[in-house]
């Protein structure tokens, strides 16, 4: 038996990040504590930038290929999504690394210390920094890069776990309100592990159906009419195939936060440290939708009449539930979480189109949404409560604390308004272009497309209400006194927010280049 040959150029982006993650673990073990922070940040940013350069190089080479014994496929959508994930991750790392002092950091000094204990106080007094977050981010990033590029269900499962496990830990590392943070971590872990078990059992059933977990083999087995394997003959091919697809979908829809698997999203987004929430909201969504696209378009397009109605209902429910429940939220992070659920529904509308326009629209939507999301969560980290002695306290996430920010901090309020308008899909922002792209792709698909678009537009209209409500709060309500302070952002956060602003406006006013790139990247290698 020969070892499969690996095309190292094709997997170079993943290798770059993976090697950096391993080195980062060694740095944790051997570098002196005082220098760890700067080394880790350097390592993370340089490795992500290197991986990005590899992705751009591979994209210019224009050679789609499968490698590593067919387990990994590097094609247009994979490269587009990898590039998107890397840029977003770079922005997220910048917001994480930006801390003027350990006191204003979003991360706990020592995650293992019990909240409120002597150990914790001592760690804070010594000014310790939990630099383990950077290797964890890098490992998670490796999983995210592999997830949309995996060509069989086993690789996909491994990528799913590699991206999830570090995120479970990162959620529990908030500096303040640590009980909430640890609770978010526990909820995310238990529900995430539960859903990935469903994914795995679905993969087992599809393996029984097709005799292989390779996506193209599953598609071929469906095209043959199924039932060519002995297991299909024993158990019944339709049962294996449809149950398998259903269980697989549970795992993937959980990761994207679609109804009815959305209940973890608000809790985890609220409890996790805000820069991690931004990373999770943007990058995980891109990676998970990448995998969902690949399954839908490469493995199971042959039985789409069976699964499209189910996804239709899920997309409609996701849009409506996300938009409606967001109205009653009083916490800005929870509101953004429900907004992300609604956006998952909009992206599912594009996924249902089942043609190249649909793939291109989803790719563009993911990129546009990711930039806006990371920017918005970076802004949330700046609005803080003031301590009685005039210092900087925890984040002021309650909406009442955002009243009157327009007068006290015009820049922050203006940029947050821009991001909210983009989420709402107002013209001249990236949100409008991306919503238009997914809706127009779906509207062409008679008979079911127009109905779903009507639901989507109605959900958008509902969503506009709660986005505008925040804008009204910031500009037309009086501020609540000195209880809230807006910290001056460091250079790194400013850079990340700046990229978000430029992308949000740029993709709204001049979307043709990015839309063209997304459309030209929209061919899956079978």
């Amino acid at each position: 038996m020969n070892a499969p040959s690996v095309d190292y150029t094709a997997v170079a982006p993943m290798l770059a990040v993976f090697v950096a993650a391993l080195v980062a673990v060694l740095v944790e073990a051997f570098a002196p504590r005082a220098q760890r922070f700067i080394i880790q940040v350097f390592l993370a940013t340089v490795s992500i930038a290197t991986a990005l350069i590899f992705v751009v190089y591979l994209a210019t080479q224009d050679t789609s290929k499968t490698t590593a014994g067919g387990a990994v496929v590097i094609d247009g959508p994979a490269l587009f999504l990898q590039g998107t994930i890397l840029v977003l991750a770079l922005m997220a790392v910048l917001t994480m690394a930006d801390e003027a002092s350990p006191e204003s950091s979003a991360f706990t000094a020592q995650a293992s210390a019990v909240p409120g204990s002597v150990d914790e106080a001592r760690a804070s007094r010594l000014g310790l920094v939990q630099t383990e977050i950077y290797p964890l981010i890098l490992f998670s990033l490796v999983g995210m890069l592999l997830f949309p590029a995996s060509n069989d269900l086993l690789t996909m499962f491994i990528a799913l776990e590699v991206l999830s496990l570090p995120l479970y830990l990162l959620c529990g590392m908030a500096r303040r309100r640590r009980l909430l943070s640890q609770e978010a971590s526990l909820k995310y872990f238990l529900l995430g592990a539960f859903s990935s078990a469903f994914f795995l059992f679905g993969a087992a059933l599809l393996y029984g159906f097709a005799g292989s977990v390779r996506l193209s083999a599953i598609a071929a087995a469906i095209a043959d009419g199924g039932g060519t394997t002995a297991a299909s003959a024993v158990v019944g091919k339709d049962g294996l195939l449809l149950m398998g697809i259903g269980l697989l979908a549970v795992g993937l829809l959980f990761k994207v936060g679609a109804v009815p698997f959305q209940s973890w999203t608000p809790d985890v987004y609220q409890g996790a440290p805000t820069p991690v929430t931004g990373f999770m909201a943007a990058c995980t969504k891109v990676a998970a939708f990448g995998a969902l696209l690949r399954i839908a378009y490469v493995a199971i397009p042959g039985v789409r009449w069976d699964w499209q109605p189910v996804i239709w209902v899920i997309a409609a429910l996701t849009m409506l539930v996300g938009s409606i429940i967001a109205i009653v939220q009083a916490d800005v992070k929870r509101m953004l979480a429900y907004s992300s659920i609604a956006h998952a529904g909009f992206i599912l509308v594009g996924l249902l189109a089942m043609d190249r326009a649909g793939i291109g629209a989803v790719l563009f939507y993911l990129a546009a949404y990711g930039f806006t999301t990371i920017g918005a969560f970076a802004l949330v980290t700046m609005v803080r409560t003031s301590t009685p002695d005039g210092g900087v306290g925890g984040e002021a996430t309650h909406l009442s604390q955002w009243q009157g920010l327009g007068k006290r901090s015009p820049w922050l309020a203006a940029i947050f308004t821009l991001f909210l308008l983009a989420f709402a899909g107002i013209p001249l922002t990236s949100g409008f272009t991306s919503k238009f792209a997914v809706f127009s792709a779906a509207a062409d698909q008679a008979p079911w497309g127009p109905g779903l678009v009507v639901v989507g537009v109605a959900a958008s209209a509902i969503a506009v209400f709660f986005y505008i409500r925040v804008i009204v709060l910031m500009y037309f309500n009086d501020s609540v006194g000195d209880a809230v302070t807006v910290t001056r952002p460091g250079a790194l956060t400013t850079l990340a927010v700046g990229v978000g602003v430029v992308a949000t406006i740029g993709l709204g006013i001049l979307p043709s280049a990015a839309l063209g790139l997304a459309n030209s990247s929209s061919v899956f290698l079978p």
């Binding site: 293992s112 086993l154 776990e161 609770e183 078990a197 005799g211």
Partner: protein, 99 residues
């Protein structure tokens, strides 16, 4: 012996695991339910491998064991941290995040 019985067993184990996750309160027991589900999937992989006569399923089972072990490490770390904070591993006590 008819190999389909192994599939019935794996579905049964998977269901027991899922019910455990849904009804039990202790986070450790919930987590054991998840592990049972993963191993039920392993049994299904191995059975299908035997029925279909190719070896892929057995290789996959090995990978899954490895992933499950990694998951145990992370999961126990999280549950243990929560337990030290709250002196309780009940999932019903972790109820601060709502609305």
């Amino acid at each position: 012996m008819n190999q389909i019985h192994w599939l019935y067993l794996s579905v049964l184990l998977f269901s027991i695991g899922a019910v455990t996750v849904l009804v039990r309160k202790n986070a450790i027991v919930v987590f054991m339910g998840v592990e049972l589900m993963l191993n039920a999937a392993n049994l299904a992989f191995v059975t299908f491998s035997r029925i279909n006569g190719n070896i892929d399923g057995q290789v996959i089972a090995l990978f899954v064991m490895l992933v499950a072990a990694a998951e145990v490490v992370v999961g126990l770390a999280i549950i243990f941290t929560i337990f030290r904070t709250r002196r309780s591993a009940s999932v019903d006590d972790a109820n601060l995040l709502k609305y």
